[in-house]
């Protein structure tokens, strides 16, 4: 029994050693990426839930296993305004680096609470799953220790390598949940049936998503459609193998998934834009850190003044209950999709750049 336990324990050590070696990123890079993430959310994807208070209470039908199910009825406007204000405050603190550890944690929890209510009208959208798990993992990564107005002090709970390796395993498992049932049905070696086509017909004819390359799908031969099916399954089921192989292989998989997301936007007009943050956190942003650390005091103060003004505008929008830029692509589908194409192209470029720079560095060391 003891020998068996030791064997399992060694296997566990080997697993995490491989994962850690594949996911290592300098904490300086995370600190720079934190600012990119915060600024993007504040300007483009600010999560707002005040609108939920306007929904009639009779439509409130939360899932059984959901935070919202603890509520007897849909909370009122004060609850959702408070939620939005706290989201704005915690996201601002995360971006500026004020008590970053706790503000990241609070921001993630508040988003989960807000989304629990958002998913209480009949549909759960798992498109944001990787995003809020990224935030939860990064809370204890030490990404608030530098480039911060009030830097966090490192505690025994902070570990960059543990945060990154945990996030990588969560991404791999999440992809498994998406790919496993597809594999059972789509890998059929039968060209008369197709899984990708089902998604396409539902979105093109059912939901009227006809932008970009959607109209050419019907011109594709069955063999190409079959290849689409197998490619999607392979990409979704393979991250754990890339992760255990090497850091380079893990980044190659990240590039593949970004290409898959780009193809989904182009052919199906379906958006998974916030996954961008979960993938790019594994890319080296030390170059951005070096630029940000050398910003002059005048530029920094000007940026802070703009930030304060922007914060007040956001606050005004919350209290005046005006429509804000939100998580929900339904409010502005075309803008989201155009922006998605840019996002995924940038992501692919950054990953390729990371791989090339790493190769050059290895050659220099050799």
């Amino acid at each position: 029994m003891k020998a068996y336990y030791t064997w399992i324990d060694n296997l566990n050590t080997l697993f995490w050693t491989r994962v850690i070696s594949s996911t290592t990123v300098d904490v300086k890079s995370l600190c720079a990426f934190r600012i990119v993430l915060g600024a993007t959310l504040l300007t483009l994807y600010f999560p707002s839930f005040t609108w939920i208070a306007e929904v009639p209470k009779a439509l409130f039908n939360p899932p059984i296993f959901s935070i919202a199910n603890a509520f007897d009825e849909l909370p009122g406007i004060v609850f959702f305004m408070t939620l939005d204000c706290m989201i704005l405050l915690s996201l601002s603190c995360l971006t500026l680096g004020i008590k970053t550890r706790i503000s990241t944690l609070i921001f993630a929890v508040l988003c989960i609470i807000g989304l629990s209510f958002n998913y209480s009208f009949g549909k759960i959208d798992h498109g944001y799953t990787l995003f809020y798990f990224t935030l939860l993992c990064m809370s204890f990564s030490g990404w608030g220790t530098q480039l911060a107005l009030y830097p966090d002090k490192l505690t025994k709970y902070d570990s960059t390598i543990k945060s990154l390796s945990l996030l990588a395993v969560i991404i791999a498992f999440g992809m498994f949940t998406a790919g496993f049932s597809k594999a059972l049905h789509w890998i059929d070696f039968d060209m008369t049936w197709n899984g990708f086509l089902r998604w396409y017909i539902d979105s093109y004819y059912g939901s009227g998503k006809k932008l970009y390359l959607a109209s050419i799908v019907e011109l594709l031969p069955p063999l190409v459609l079959e290849i689409f099916d197998y490619t999607a399954v392979l990409v979704e089921l393979s991250p754990i193998f890339f992760l255990l192989h090497s850091g380079k292989a893990w980044r190659v998989w990240l590039m593949l998934i970004c290409i898959l997301h780009l193809a989904i936007v182009l052919f199906l007009n379906i958006s998974f834009n916030l996954n961008f943050f979960a993938y790019l956190i594994f890319i080296d942003f030390s170059w951005l850190y070096n630029k940000l650390i050398n910003i002059s005091k005048l530029v920094l103060n000007t940026l802070l003044a703009f930030f304060s003004l922007y914060f007040l505008v956001r606050l005004y929008l919350i209290f005046s209950q005006q429509q804000m830029v939100t998580f929900f692509p339904g409010l502005r589908p075309k803008f989201d999709l155009y922006f998605d194409i840019i996002i995924w192209l940038v992501a692919i470029y950054l990953i390729i750049n990371h791989l090339l720079v790493s190769k050059q560095n290895r050659l220099k060391e050799a």
Partner: protein, 173 residues
């Protein structure tokens, strides 16, 4: 490095919600579950069936006319509206359908709480009535028509539209 105990806890945290979704068709939130959609379609399919719901209100001349459903359910965005509309706002007859034969639905009915109380339903009816009037309708009756629409592939032209259900919601009652 994570200890074996932490790894086991992580496995449990990751697998339990996925197992609940896979075996009981109940989606927990939050959970590490990504959208799958394993359905398939015939490659040489020439038709596509979709169920659409149409809403009619009574205008001043007593005739039924199309209601703007999106304005009825503002601020819910379109993907959510589709679910609400397909259940007749949860105040129509179809919300009372009893799927007792299915084990997962027995479990769901035992675990879920009934929040659709009289006051909430009255408020919703009042709101719908107000929004009907604001669209120029003169009656508080709302006719709900469900169609099976057959669309040609490629092209997307409607080949046939079959009325499968018709009901009227009386928002005054």
């Amino acid at each position: 490095m994570f200890s074996l105990r932490v790894t086991l806890v992580l496995i449990v945290i990751l697998i339990i919600p996925y197992a609940i979704k896979s075996f009981f068709s109940i989606e927990p939130f939050p959970a590490v579950i990504l959208p799958s959609g394993p359905g398939k379609s015939l490659v040489n399919k020439s038709q596509f069936e979709v169920t659409t719901v149409s809403y009619l209100g009574k205008s001043g001349d007593g005739r039924w006319r199309q209601v703007n459903a999106q304005r009825l359910l503002h601020p819910l965005h379109y993907p959510l509206q589709r679910y609400i509309l397909s259940r007749e706002f949860m105040i129509g007859d179809s919300s009372n359908i009893n799927y007792i034969n299915y084990p997962t639905n027995i479990l769901k009915s035992k675990l879920s709480r009934n929040r659709n109380n009289y006051q909430a339903r009255s408020d919703l009816k009042e709101l719908l009535k107000h929004r009907l009037y604001s669209q120029g309708f003169k009656s508080s009756s709302l006719k709900i028509l469900k169609y099976k629409v057959i669309i040609s592939i490629p092209g997307g032209d409607t080949i046939n539209s079959i009325l499968i259900n018709e009901s009227i919601l009386y928002l005054d009652r």
